[in-house]
Structures are given as structure tokens and as C-alpha cells.
Symmetry: C2
């Protein structure tokens, strides 16, 4: 048996503690699987005195994670600090430069500095593993980076934020408002006190930016993501979706188009009968469409200490199974130096079906005016539902359109036209429809 | 860049031709991902003259796959011959003994000789990769063997035969009989002329036996699998399942129990709202339940030339990324020599819910007699539906029971009791219910 692999962990929160516990409890089994031991030799966290309920053994304590990252006491640096800069960035960079393998769960860091860090890792011939950064315990990085070699990806999309999916699931199940479901999620610890990051799509965008790079061999570009959150989704939308055979999910979607690569995060209508529509609560799911394989879907726990720890341990085990001098595949599937610049597709060129819900004044000619605006923009309609929604005054009604494939440009123009006609009571709701198997 | 990896392929049917095509079309991209070229240097197939529509380049032709397997012209032997013995076995064994890596799609071979072949591979320090052997293009082997390190699996189950799933899907969608759907599947090329292997569960059993070894660290034991096929599933079952909130799927299930490990293949009721219930047609899906991660589900194309080729190429790329002298993780997750003997759980000890459909004579006391037999065996009932099925004579009726968690033993005794009471018109239908998220 080879020498033990020496692990240093920076960050001992929920995930860090789960990793340490799993290393201790599964030591014999992990050793059997990896062909050598993984030993915790060093740790770093903010508060040395806190009891984390785990056995840190003889691990050396570092107050400074960067010092730990550089230390000759470790072979692998596990970064569980979080944040897209500051100590997390400094420590990961230092570890790679010192020739240490790195395992990180930090999507924000990778979405900002991923390519630069990959460049260092590849120069140094060390591994940079980050399965836990996207969709928690679901092995989507391993799948895209390794299993799908030889596949050209055309689209990757998924439910990658458990908080948002929990809220949408509860809104549908219980008929409650967005605000009530958010409050419940906060009570249960599924949402932060400031939930913006989760419900407005930022978290999903970080994860999506990493998948986009893996899917299309391009540089990571999280700033180029079109983003809409779920805070304006109402019960009227949920009910209308259900009637029309759809369910609303917050999806991140990256797709190859003629004009570039679309990256978008928004509430999305998916067919009720599709597999992804059955992904409820805090569960995540990612679907990948390729030319050779077809469509693959992975679903499972997207967050939580244990699910994330599972991915971190898997990454560590992959390093343990490799041996000194071993060259692994590149960090983002292709060598960092060969990743193409990201070419953004214009959002207005997006093609797809649309759900449009308009609350209008109930008077003669409204319907005809709406139909004309659609026709003028060459939008053909799959279904039209006129709706006396319970909550509306008598002189108002809901008109719900589902379009066939059209463009974002056409839909925006048509909706602006209906607004200009003066029939609309308030802002129309426009939700994109996504094909899903 | 390192030297090219020399590939020899034995078997040039649909899958083999897809692999060759993909290697040719994706050569540049694969080279970029792997850091070296993969070159087809040798092939073997039955008929040298056949036009397979692919470019075999300068590959050396071998009439005998065993000779190819031993040849010094290759680094990797790709076995796409099929069959659990004969040339496939001889060639894989010869390749491993010659110190060549092996990629195979052959579930029958592995389910019979997997441990013996793994032993040779591990002694020789070469890789034996077999992603395509289970669930086609779905990366379930990579997930279980690599990503889930540190997880104890409690249950693995899945839809692993596209033919059976296609037939069940069509029966539900179209209201057609098993026989009609089978004939349709045969017409479309989804079922063989002799469909026994697929519809009676043998194919699923082969795949399950491999997953069982990966899940529980035990030796492969395909002969110890309890097996029931789908040929006696009727429209009455499909309709009753639907009414009660279930869908019928042919599942392979391996589960840890107090008395050993259950391996079973049978028609199964899964909740209509579960993710796995939405897996339709020829699509496959595998769910894995573990202590650390929770439940993971993978779904995608389970068969077909391209989907299978995708998995084969992924396996080849993993070998290309590794370097001479590199020690990979063991073939079945744990070293072959340390796999425990398979300890079979008694099927009669199986615990779970049951669906029981009985066609009985419509006369006084029948219901009471059935209820008594259930109570005598301590079976408590979740629901009882009495059913005037369209197809039945007036003096007969369907009684459908769904039990709470009970044992196979109790159900068999209770049903034998009802039969002994003389109320039954024909054989009762008993279908196990499986929990699924």
C-alpha cells in the first residue's frame, strides 16, 4: 500500500464537519477503495475553541488558511471557506502554486476565477476538483468532465437552487403566496435571512457558468448570464401553468445557438409529465443533451452538509486513487489555455415557446387587439385561455396565451403593443417554456 | 503530448461501428480532452467484407479476436462481441493477461466472470472499464465506483431494460394488451424475435448483479436473483395501478436487509408522482440510496448504438487520461480479493407493501373471507377497491388490495388461504410496491 494522502481542510462549518466525520467513520472502507489512507493532517477555521462535534485527531491547526494551503504538511488542500475572493481565493491559489491538489465546493470562486486557477493547476500538474460546487451531491461535474468525452453538448439545464425549488413546490402544493412560502423556507433553514442570492437566480447563475464551460469548451463568463428570479411568480401563474399542463421551475439553461451560447436563469414552464417537473422541494436536477448519447438527467440532493461532503469525499478519493506523476484530464474538460472566449447569444434572439398572462379590462375588442398584436409579430398561438380568476374584480379578466416557437424579440414587441393599446390592468407576466423529456 | 493510445476493437456491429465513427468524427476534440490521441490500430469481426459505413483507416484486421486481444499492436482491447463465454471471455481474459486495458459493454460476461476478470486486471495493474454494460449511456458505473466513495449504499434500483419499459409504457398509454405491445416493439426493433431475455427479466438481472457488487462490496451472484417478468401484466393491473396512484415498472432492486442482500427483478408498483414513474419508453433510470448523500437518480438512453458508444468512448478516454504505471481504483470499487461472498436474503422475508388483485366469484361472504385471511396473517390494508371490471362476467368481480408494509411470507400465506377458500376465479396477481422519491 502507498503512503497516506495528507489532507488539509480550511473551513469547518457544516460541510467541513461532515467531511471530517465521514473520513473518520469510513476510514477503513475509503482505504480499501482508494488503495491508501487519507489522513487529516491540518485544519484551519475562524474559531479554534468551537466544539464541532468531530474528531480532528492530530491535525495541525492553522489560523491562516493561506499558510495551511502552502504548508508542506499536506498533499491536498480542501477549500470550504466560501466567497469569490479574499481568503478562499488566496488559499486556493497558494495551494495550487505550492503543487498541492485542491478540492473545493466554491461555485462563486470558480465562476469568477475558475479559468485562472485551472491554468495554474494544469501548469503544476495537480488536480482541481469541484464536484460539490454544482448541484451538491449530484455527480454532474464528473459526468460532464469524464463520462461525456466525445459528446457535443447542445443544451444543459437544471434546477440548481434548492431554496427556489422548495418555494415553488410549496406554492403549488399549498396554494400559498410567494411571501408565505419564503417565510416558511426561512423558518425551516432552507432560505437565508437575505434570500436574494437564491431566489433572484445568482446562485443558479454561478453554477450554470461552470456547466457552460464544461459543456461548450468556453471560458467561464458568469457576468453574461440573463437572469430573472422567482419573486414575481404568483398563484395565478401557478394555477394557469397547471391548467395548461406545465409546472414552473427556476431553471438555469445554457444552449448552443447560431448566434452564440445562451446562458439564462429564469422561471420556466416545463411540461408536467416531464421527469424534471417531478423534482420537488430542495432536490436539484441537471439535464444534459448531447449528439451521441441523447438526453441524460441526474437528480438528487443539491445542498446540505452531508450531500456536499459526499461530493468532496468523492473528489478526494479520485485524488487518492491517482498516483504522484499522474496527469489527469484538464480541469474544465479542455486545457484551460484552449478554452474559447465565451460568445454570448443575444437574449432577444432566444427562440422558444412563451406563456403570457395578461390581466386586462373586460371590454369589447380586447381579445381582437391582443390577437392582432400577436399576428403582427408573427407569433402563432398554441392555446388561448380566458380566465375569470377568483381574485380579480368583475370588470377585469386574465388572458393566458401559450405561443408556438417564436423569438424573445417578437414577444417583447407584441406585449409592448398590447400595453400601448391601453387594455392592460397591470404588468403582463411572461414566462419562457422549455422543452424537457 | 504523450504517445497515442492504441485501440483494438473486437466486434463491429451497431455499437462497434458507432464507436469507430465517433473516434473519427471527434478525434480533435477527444485529443484535446485526453491530452493524447486515441488511434484505432486493430479490429476483429466475423465478416471482413461487410461495409459498415465507417472508416477503419489503417487498422490491422484480425480474424481471431483472441489474437487481437494478445497483440502487441494495441494498448486497449475493446470487447463488443457479446456473450457470457466463448470468444468474448477468451479475448477479454487474454487481453488482461497480456497487460492490456479492457473496455467492455458485456453485462452477461461480467455477471458470470466479473470477479475473476477483475482479479486478473488488478494483478496486472490495468483497467477494466464497463460503463456500457449497465444502463447504456447512463454513467451509473462511474457514479457508483468513483463519485460515491465514502457512501454506504442501502438500496439501488432501476429500470434497466428498455424493451420491457417500452411495452409497459405503451400498455398504459394505449390500453393495449401485453401481446399487442410486444408485437409492436418487435416491429420497431425494440424487441428481439425471441423476447424472453428482455421481458422475463434476465437482462435486468445481469445488470443488477453488477450494481449489487458495486453497491455492497460483494461478489457478483447473478444466479441468486429472484426474477419475475412482465408477460402476465394485464390491462386490469395497469388500470388498477393508475386508480390507486401507481405505475407498473419492471425494476431490478438490490437492497441491504438484516438477513442479507436482496436481489430481485419483478414488475413493481411505483408512485405515479415519483421521478422514476416518469421514465417512459426505452429510457432507463437507476436510483441509488446512500447514508451520506441520500437518493440520487440517473436517467437516460439505456440502449442503442450511439448511447452505448458514448459510454465506451468515455471509458476509453478515462484510460487515455491515465498514464503508464498509474494505478486506478479497483474494478468493482473494492479490490476483487476483498469482495465479500454474496449473502442472499430470503425472498420470503422481503418486507414491503403489496398490490393484490383477485378475480373472485361475486357472492356473499367473499369480502369477509378475504379480510379474515389478511387479518390472520397480520396484514393491514391501506386500501381496498372492489371493481366491476368491464371485461368480467356479471357474477365475477375484481377485488384489489393495497397492503401496508408486510412480508412476502405473510402475503403468500394469505393468498394461499383465499385460494383454499375457493372464492378465486383464477390465479391472483401479486405485485410488489417499491418506495420511490
Amino acid at each position: 500500500m502507498s503512503e497516506a494522502l495528507r489532507i488539509g481542510i480550511a473551513g469547518l462549518g457544516t460541510v467541513g464537519a461532515s467531511v471530517v466525520r465521514c473520513m473518520t467513520e469510513k476510514e477503513a472502507e475509503l482505504t480499501r477503495q482508494c488503495g491508501r489512507m487519507m489522513t487529516l493532517t491540518a485544519v484551519s477555521a475562524r474559531d479554534r475553541t468551537r466544539d464541532r462535534g468531530v474528531d480532528l485527531g492530530n491535525a495541525k491547526w492553522f489560523d491562516d488558511p493561506v499558510e495551511l494551503a502552502r504548508s508542506s504538511d499536506i498533499d491536498v488542500f480542501v477549500e470550504l471557506i466560501g466567497g469569490d475572493s479574499g481568503p478562499a481565493y488566496d488559499a486556493v491559489k497558494a495551494a495550487l502554486e505550492a503543487g498541492h491538489h485542491v478540492v473545493t465546493a466554491n461555485k462563486a470562486l470558480l465562476s469568477k476565477h475558475g479559468v485562472a486557477l485551472a491554468t495554474i493547476a494544469e501548469e503544476k500538474g495537480v488536480l482541481l476538483n469541484y464536484e460539490a460546487a454544482v448541484a451538491g451531491g449530484i455527480p454532474v461535474i464528473k459526468t460532464m468532465r469524464e463520462a461525456l468525452a466525445g459528446n457535443d453538448v447542445s443544451r444543459v439545464f437544471g434546477i440548481m437552487n434548492g431554496t427556489a425549488n422548495y418555494i415553488l413546490t410549496r406554492m403549488e402544493e399549498e396554494g400559498l403566496s410567494f411571501e408565505d412560502c419564503l417565510a416558511e423556507a426561512q423558518r425551516l433553514g432552507y432560505a437565508e435571512a437575505d434570500p436574494t442570492f437564491d431566489i433572484e437566480g445568482h446562485d443558479t447563475a454561478h453554477k450554470l457558468s461552470i456547466l457552460t464551460s464544461l459543456a461548450f469548451g468556453c471560458q467561464i463568463s458568469a457576468d453574461d448570464i440573463y437572469m430573472e428570479g422567482i419573486s414575481n411568480i404568483s398563484q395565478a401563474d401557478i394555477r394557469a401553468a397547471s391548467e395548461l399542463g406545465y409546472r414552473i421551475k427556476l431553471l438555469g439553461v445554457a444552449q448552443r445557438t447560431d448566434s452564440g451560447i445562451e446562458q439564462r436563469v429564469h422561471p420556466t414552464m416545463v411540461p408536467t409529465q416531464s421527469v424534471i417537473a417531478q423534482v420537488h422541494g430542495v432536490t436539484n436536477a441537471v439535464a444534459i443533451e448531447t449528439d451521441v448519447l441523447g438526453e441524460l438527467l441526474l437528480s438528487g440532493p443539491g445542498a446540505g452538509g452531508n450531500a456536499t461532503a459526499s461530493a468532496v469525499i468523492g473528489d478526494m478519493a479520485d485524488i487518492a486513487k491517482s498516483r504522484p506523476g499522474f496527469q489527469h484530464g484538464p480541469v474544465f474538460g479542455r486545457p484551460a489555455a484552449k478554452l474559447k472566449p465565451y460568445q454570448r447569444a443575444r437574449m432577444r434572439a432566444h427562440e422558444g415557446g412563451y406563456f403570457i398572462r395578461m390581466t386586462v379590462h373586460d371590454r369589447a375588442g380586447v381579445f381582437a387587439a391582443i390577437a392582432k398584436r400577436m399576428a403582427d409579430n408573427e407569433i402563432s398561438l398554441e392555446s388561448i385561455v380566458q380566465h375569470a380568476d377568483g381574485g380579480l374584480p368583475e370588470d377585469q379578466k386574465n388572458v393566458i396565451l401559450v405561443t408556438h416557437e417564436t423569438t424573445e424579440e417578437a414577444v417583447r414587441k407584441a406585449v409592448d403593443g398590447v400595453i400601448a393599446d391601453g387594455h392592460m390592468v397591470d404588468k403582463p407576466q411572461v414566462i419562457r417554456i422549455e422543452r424537457a423529456a
